[in-house]
């Protein structure tokens, strides 16, 4: 479980991709996401996936992206089966299943290379309410903590004779109750404590607080953003006017 979770959690890196302005990284991920939705054949999707894997390699997060793929493979298989049952078309079903993996990879590329602080700055540029930004960024920040909590709770309950891996599906779901209750209670307690700690440190005292870091796009960031938009436009154009191999 921890192994899989690593595919979604940010870890500091020094690659070129990590150093790109987070707003540009968001733009790249959004464009990849839209491109995946525009894809009409497995060949096109394979091309996009190869491109995303290349970005992951440049960002030195290839192994973690592979974990993301492994995590989504189960859902992807479910999508394939469901589509195949209703459409009886293996190629279309495979396209939908692979598209799901590509969508997850496109978003995880952003999240695993962008720190919560950078995420906060990105959200600020969209002029979202401060409370919304804070709530979202805090939730992201606490994902690894909750994973760690889950593992420790599972350890504690297994040490009291709880067999999490035994029995049928219903039994296994029921066995998760001793894990879920402490997890939820801890999270509620932690959020209450966090709220008190924030208020005691003057959260909300002024309407427009200052920021420690102000992001400014460099020339290279702008060049990457323009290149991403141009590549997207060319790819979208080629999908509809050059490549004929559509299955949809």
């Amino acid at each position: 479980m921890m192994w899989l979770s690593q595919g979604f959690i940010f870890r500091r890196g020094t690659s070129v991709y990590h150093r790109i302005d987070p707003r540009v990284k968001l733009l790249i991920s959004v464009l990849l996401f839209v491109t995946v939705l525009l894809v009409r054949s497995l060949y096109e999707l394979t091309g996009i996936l190869v491109f995303m894997v290349t970005i992951a390699a440049v960002a030195t997060v290839l192994r973690r992206v592979a974990r993301t793929m492994a995590f989504t493979a189960l859902f992807s298989a479910f999508i394939f089966v469901l589509n195949f049952v209703f459409t009886r078309n293996a190629e279309t079903s495979l396209l939908y299943a692979a598209r799901f993996i590509a969508i997850v990879v496109s978003t995880s590329l952003f999240f695993i290379t962008t720190s919560p602080d950078e995420l906060e700055q990105v959200m600020k540029t969209f002029r979202l309410p401060r409370d919304v930004i804070f709530a979202f960024v805090t939730a992201v920040r606490f994902i690894p903590v909750m994973f760690l909590d889950t593992i420790q709770i599972m350890d504690a309950q297994k040490s009291r004779g709880l067999e999490l891996e035994k029995g049928n599906v219903i039994r296994r779901v029921r066995n998760m109750i001793p894990v879920l209750i402490p997890l939820v209670v801890n999270s509620v307690v932690r959020s209450g404590e966090l709220a008190e700690a924030m208020e005691s440190r003057a959260y909300g005292a002024v309407a427009r607080p200052t920021s420690l870091v102000e992001y400014k796009s460099s020339l290279s960031d702008r060049a990457v953003a323009i290149a991403a938009v141009v590549m997207f436009a060319l790819t979208a154009y080629s999908f509809y006017y050059i490549l004929p191999s559509a299955v949809l």
Binding site: D155, L162, P178
Partner: protein, 270 residues
């Protein structure tokens, strides 16, 4: 009873939490494991319960490798009270919480009732029997987790930082419980930063540093060995430090306690 044979454990991020640890704990022994944060104490304990499997080496409990047994099965023999009680409390009432493990192990209803009553009495929690465990104070929660473990009478009792959040009276009671367990033949392993708590218990002390065992022996010897304790960044018990300082002091005994205090504050004996 418990044997670690050249155990090494490397985390996924490459951190070597245990590095060639060999340790044998006989049945009925009381062992204190000490060391600074990140020394590998809890990782070692998790190997004994089978929650972690060694990267290399072998962990044997009662002659059986932990790799061949599930944690749930192992826990019948090895009871662990983890550091944070909030990681295990979930039931509607304190008695339900205590009965959870007993039911998992298939104890008959009568025995469950009997063991729950015994455990609540031992840790002074009878008045909370019908209360939710979530509303107890930090110290009470900690005591409840200990009661939960002792309720099924495991052969080995492992206490991970048992004194956190306990006042001095509860600490004394806890030390008494450990002595009682030891005298009844249980193997007791206490992982603790609290040297002052361990000293009166006089266990065999295992000192850990950076995933290795750097000292192992009776408390009376290890606690006096400043080289070992300093290298593992473990403080000496005040009483031992005081005794050593007094022993090193030349001249006459002190006239009053303030004299002794002034002498110690002036770096006496060091």
């Amino acid at each position: 009873m418990i044997e670690l044979q050249d155990v090494t454990f490397v985390h996924q991020n490459g951190v070597r939490a245990l590095d060639g640890v060999s340790l044998k704990i006989d049945s009925g022994e009381t062992v204190g494991i000490v060391g600074e944060n990140g020394a590998g104490k809890t990782t070692l304990v998790k190997h004994v319960t089978g929650l972690l499997k060694p990267t290399s080496g072998k962990v044997l409990v009662d002659g059986k490798s932990t790799g061949e047994t599930s944690t749930a099965q192992l826990s019948r023999k090895v009871g662990v009270a983890f550091q944070n009680p909030d990681h295990q409390l979930f039931s509607e009432s304190v008695e339900e919480e205590m009965a959870f493990a007993l039911r998992n192990f298939g104890f008959p209803a009568e025995l469950v009732e009997q063991r729950v009553t015994w455990g609540l009495g031992l840790f002074g929690l009878e008045e909370y029997r019908k209360s939710s465990p979530l509303v107890l104070s930090g110290g009470e929660k900690k005591r409840l987790t200990l009661a939960c473990i002792l309720a099924w009478d495991p052969e080995v009792v492992i206490l991970d930082e048992p004194t956190v959040g306990q006042d001095s009276i509860q600490k004394e009671k806890l030390a008494g419980t450990i002595r009682m367990l030891a005298s009844s033949g249980k193997t007791v392993v206490v992982v603790s930063h609290d040297i002052e708590f361990l000293w009166p218990v006089q266990p065999r002390v295992v000192v850990m540093k950076a995933g290795r065992i750097v000292g192992d022996g009776p408390a009376s010897r290890i606690m006096q060995d400043r080289d070992i304790l300093d290298s593992a960044r473990v403080a000496q018990p005040q009483l031992v430090e005081f005794y050593q300082s007094l022993r090193a002091r030349p001249g006459k005994p002190f006239v009053d306690p303030l004299d002794a205090r002034r002498w110690l504050e002036g770096g006496g004996g060091k």
